[in-house]
Subunit: 326 residues, 2 copies
């Protein structure tokens, strides 16, 4: 293995000089710098990142905390974060919080112990001491809190859109699935849909769900058609729930979209491959992940950040679980 | 912030003694050890992981390299790895290789620079110098190479099973989708299916695919029905491909499974929610991830490892894209 001594010998300078060049910690004459850089290149010397991290008190590690990577919405977010971070040579320490506060705090603690220089977190607890007292930049992803740096989509508008499109396509006995109570984006989209339905004056029903898991999606879908057999339009809490509702509707022999319309939320990649393909509200999750990484890099590098609160628009993606209108 | 000095002061011992207790690097009298441990607890002292890592040349970081987290097969694997690692307080540095050798080697390099103590990798290049020369344990996941530690499923048997079930259910003009040529598990399952079809003496067709992406799955599905319109049974390269084939078959007005049977591979969580639900060959991906983590922990802790090559069985999951038999 090549060491800093080998570099110093080849360049004909001291180890301290090599260290100054590598760590950018003091004046080195331009000619000397060139000699050192040339030796580093020729020997293919890779400084130990941990030693550098301790010395400079800086690493190239970022902590990324997501609720659950097995929920198909999150791999896109994670991929966006990673692609952007990789372009700037940052690496990710990754954890699933399961929306569990204690697990989340434990992760943040170990992120700090590993000298991460920034954190991206999809947390339900942005206002806890743990985040407020962190001495490194934090970007909330898919979540927002006051002026704190955050990247999210307009969930309330998404809920409004879903309800408007459902009404415009003629559903009159709509059922809304309300996502888990402690997950803010789930409540935003729910509130948006409720607003529009209240304005319409039409009756509607609500089905409450306690998680975004596949298993709960199936049982919620069954409960929905059992309780509200006459429903003719379902605004699902996300695309997984919508997929389960579609599955159950077809199993019961209902015609989609003629007898029941369904609108999902997220636009996960599989939505377009369902049969019939799923109409949904699209969040640009990959782009949101990239933008969160971009914002965090700016904060770490202390460049002038014009906008720390980045809201992405949502849009209705018309496919085949809703009827056509002119 | 609590420092090692505060702990030493409270315990009435030297900093060196505290260090010996924390890092388990030398003899300390039992009474002294108790005093130190009590002080650590009362002050809630958290040793800096990076400093420990440099001192002990050991971290609690593991490198995890997967092809692409947005392929729905991999989140389950990743989750299995993370859950098991978290139980032993290890943390994951995570990267997507995109099956690209250069990107993969860059990641391994930065894993090493960050002093990871082990690597789990789903690589197509297990026999490169980079892996052979690593001085830390490596477990290949979803891949295998000779005696190297690895956790994988029986892909060839999976391919055989898919073909056997297809034949037993009466398909006579079968089309096999061959996954990307450089991905070993894709070729194993393909070979297994070919073996059984050759033994049967029936004619069959092959569609080659170049990736496991959603986009390519859609175009392969279209190509398949265009080229081999009379096919009555499709053995897909994975569940994404099967989902696209099912979507295209229904779009063309074909009856599934009466006119065309479809069998996938993987059993991703959404497979059971498709309509009709997807018959497939199940790999226990979450359990494989856990087992890979478990094996790596044993190798790191140098416990006596009885079996370094762990093969998981696969099984046919009968759902509604295949016909029933007695």
């Amino acid at each position: 293995m090549v060491t800093i001594k080998d570099v110093a010998n080849m360049a004909g300078v001291s180890v301290a000089t090599v260290s100054r060049v590598i760590n950018e910690t003091g004046y080195v004459h331009a000619d000397t710098r060139k000699k050192v850089e040339s030796a580093v290149q020729q020997l293919n010397f890779k400084p130990n990142e941990v030693a550098r991290s301790l010395y400079k008190r800086k690493s190239r590690l970022i902590g990324l905390l997501l609720p659950d990577i097995t929920n198909p919405y999150f791999p896109q977010l994670a991929r966006g974060v990673e692609d952007r971070m990789q372009e700037n040579d940052f690496r990710l320490i990754f954890g699933n919080s399961d929306e569990n506060k204690q697990k989340e705090m434990d992760y943040i603690q170990t992120f700090i112990q590993n000298n991460v220089v920034g954190v991206i977190s999809s947390t339900n607890y942005p206002d806890t001491d743990t985040y407020l007292k962190l001495k490194i930049p934090v970007v909330f992803l898919d979540r927002t809190l006051g002026d704190s740096p955050s990247v999210y989509s307009d969930g309330r508008e998404g809920g409004r859109l879903a309800a408007q499109e459902m009404l415009a396509r003629g559903s009159k006995r709509i059922t809304i699935m309300q996502g888990p109570a402690h997950i803010r984006p789930a409540q935003d989209r729910f509130q948006g849909a409720i607003e529009v339905l209240e304005e319409s004056g039409l009756p509607y029903h609500i089905i409450r769900t306690s998680s975004f898991s596949f298993h709960d999606a199936e049982s919620s879908a069954k409960e929905l058609f059992h309780k509200y057999a006459g429903t003719d339009g379902i605004i699902a809490s996300n695309d997984i729930a919508a997929t389960a509702v579609l599955h159950e509707a077809l199993r019961l022999g209902l015609k989609v979209p003629d007898e029941v319309q369904i609108i999902g939320f997220d636009d996960i990649p599989l939505s377009r491959l369902l049969s019939p393909s799923l109409s949904t509200i699209r969040q640009p999750s990959y782009e949101m992940g990239r933008e969160a990484a971009n914002l965090l890099i700016q904060l770490i590098e202390q460049t002038n950040v014009a906008n720390k609160n980045i809201q992405f628009p949502v849009q209705f993606v018309e496919r085949d679980t809703t009827r056509k209108v002119d």
